[in-house]
């Protein structure tokens, strides 16, 4: 499951905060100002079950998140939740995919080492034999202009 972040995992100077996740649990978050650029030409892919628990990640996901694959599988997707992301964004994500539509948005994600990376994410339901069985998110390298807009917009949504 999700553990508190540990100072020994963090690279560089960090700030500390506490996030309420997953309805009930809280997590101590340690985060820095260090950005890792999205790698060119790659896609970051993950699948979750209907509760948002990670069931599949690709290699780019593992590399960018800084976690080992076995730390990610079985963990809630909010393991990447960055304190600068307004929760309305994720409410919109869940409302949109639950209504059967694709969700697209710009997300600032938290790495295990406290750093962050911006993505443009598209989340869809995986429908098999007419039923939603899981969700998949595919992230691509975002336009810098769009990211700058989000850096201005997101603080106003808290």
């Amino acid at each position: 499951m999700i553990r508190d972040m540990k100072p020994e995992d963090i690279v560089g100077d960090y700030k500390e905060t506490i996030l309420g996740l997953y309805g009930s649990i809280t997590r101590v978050i340690l985060y820095t100002d260090i950005e890792t650029p999205f790698p060119e030409g790659r896609l970051i892919v993950s699948t979750t079950d209907k509760d948002g628990i990670i069931t599949h990640v690709n290699k780019a996901f593992v590399e960018m998140s800084g976690y080992a694959e076995d730390e990610l599988l079985g963990s809630p997707h909010s393991i990447l939740r960055h304190p600068d992301m307004p929760s309305v964004a994720f409410k919109d994500l869940w409302d949109t995919v639950n209504s059967g539509k694709h969700w697209q948005g710009y997300v600032k994600n938290l790495r295990k080492d406290g750093g962050y990376y911006w993505v443009k994410a598209t989340v869809i339901s995986n429908i098999r034999q007419g039923k939603v069985v899981s969700y998949t998110s595919v992230r691509r390298k975002p336009s810098r202009t769009k990211v700058e807009e989000c850096i201005k917009l997101y603080p106003t949504l808290f």
């Binding site: 030409g41 598209t122 995986n126 098999r128 691509r140 975002p142 336009s143 810098r144």
Partner: protein, 249 residues
């Protein structure tokens, strides 16, 4: 009985045209079925034939997989071993641009009709705020012509299938510069069958995955440019279709 109809995604490499005819002959011998190979010269005319239910077997572009599986009930059989569709963004060697993010709106982008490569290429242009509305697209009949457009200065950027870029002559490649190459690895062409063949699926799949074990089969595969067919499970195909779906928007 009407022969089954087999067709190949029109983006096949010209070097492999005879290979597809050898493959069709091999398949007819092995299955004892009459199969006619029909090559279409455009995606449009191929899709029209699919809509008229005239296609029973297809080596399909990943872009068409959703329509084939979800609208027409096609089932996946196999994919080429170690082959995935990747895209390259390249410019002329004397272009001042050395990074995708330096590209500006208004540029001319040379592409072919290959739908999956074009989509992957457009995704790699997005970090520079480029999209179909602020670039000029020139559609070329082949990747050799895309390269020619770059060398002659008629286009600023070319979107290539990575394999086709590698196949360009050394002299051409020496005058080009790669800005970015995709590493997606899960998007691939697949051999798929329609409902008329559905009850023969296991038999055909078995023939194909063991094709490399027989001397003649191995030679035919070589003429297609790969060394074996690998089974594609239904879920792998469904997942690729979902992935393509996320990229199409």
């Amino acid at each position: 009985m009407m022969p089954y109809q087999f067709t190949v995604s029109p983006d096949f490499s010209p070097d492999h045209l005879s290979g597809w005819f050898f493959f069709n002959t091999w398949l007819q011998r092995q299955t004892g079925e009459a199969i006619h190979l029909e090559m279409y010269n455009s995606f449009q005319s191929q899709r029209e034939a699919i809509q008229r239910n005239e296609v029973d077997l297809i080596y399909a572009n990943p872009f068409d997989a959703a329509m084939l599986v979800r609208e027409k009930g096609f089932l996946p059989l196999v994919k080429a071993n170690d082959v995935s569709d990747e895209a390259i963004i390249a410019v002329s060697l004397d272009s001042a641009v050395d990074k995708v993010t330096r590209l500006m709106p208004g540029i001319t982008v040379a592409v072919t009709e290959d739908p999956d490569v074009r989509m992957m290429g457009m995704i790699m242009l997005e970090p520079a705020d480029l999209n179909a509305d602020n670039i000029k697209i020139t559609v070329c009949g082949s990747y050799v012509l895309v390269a020619k457009h770059l060398l002659q200065g008629n286009a600023d950027v070319g979107i290539f299938l990575a394999e086709a870029y590698d196949d360009l002559s050394n002299i051409t490649k020496s005058k080009l510069k790669i800005l970015v190459q995709s590493q997606i690895s899960v998007i691939h062409h697949s051999l798929m069958m329609g409902s008329r063949l559905a009850d023969k699926r296991d038999d055909i799949q078995n023939l194909l995955v063991t094709m490399n074990q027989d001397e003649k089969g191995g030679k035919v595969l070589k003429s297609l440019g790969f060394d074996a067919w690998i089974k594609v499970e239904d879920e792998e195909m469904e997942f690729m279709i979902d992935l393509m779906d996320t990229l199409a928007i």
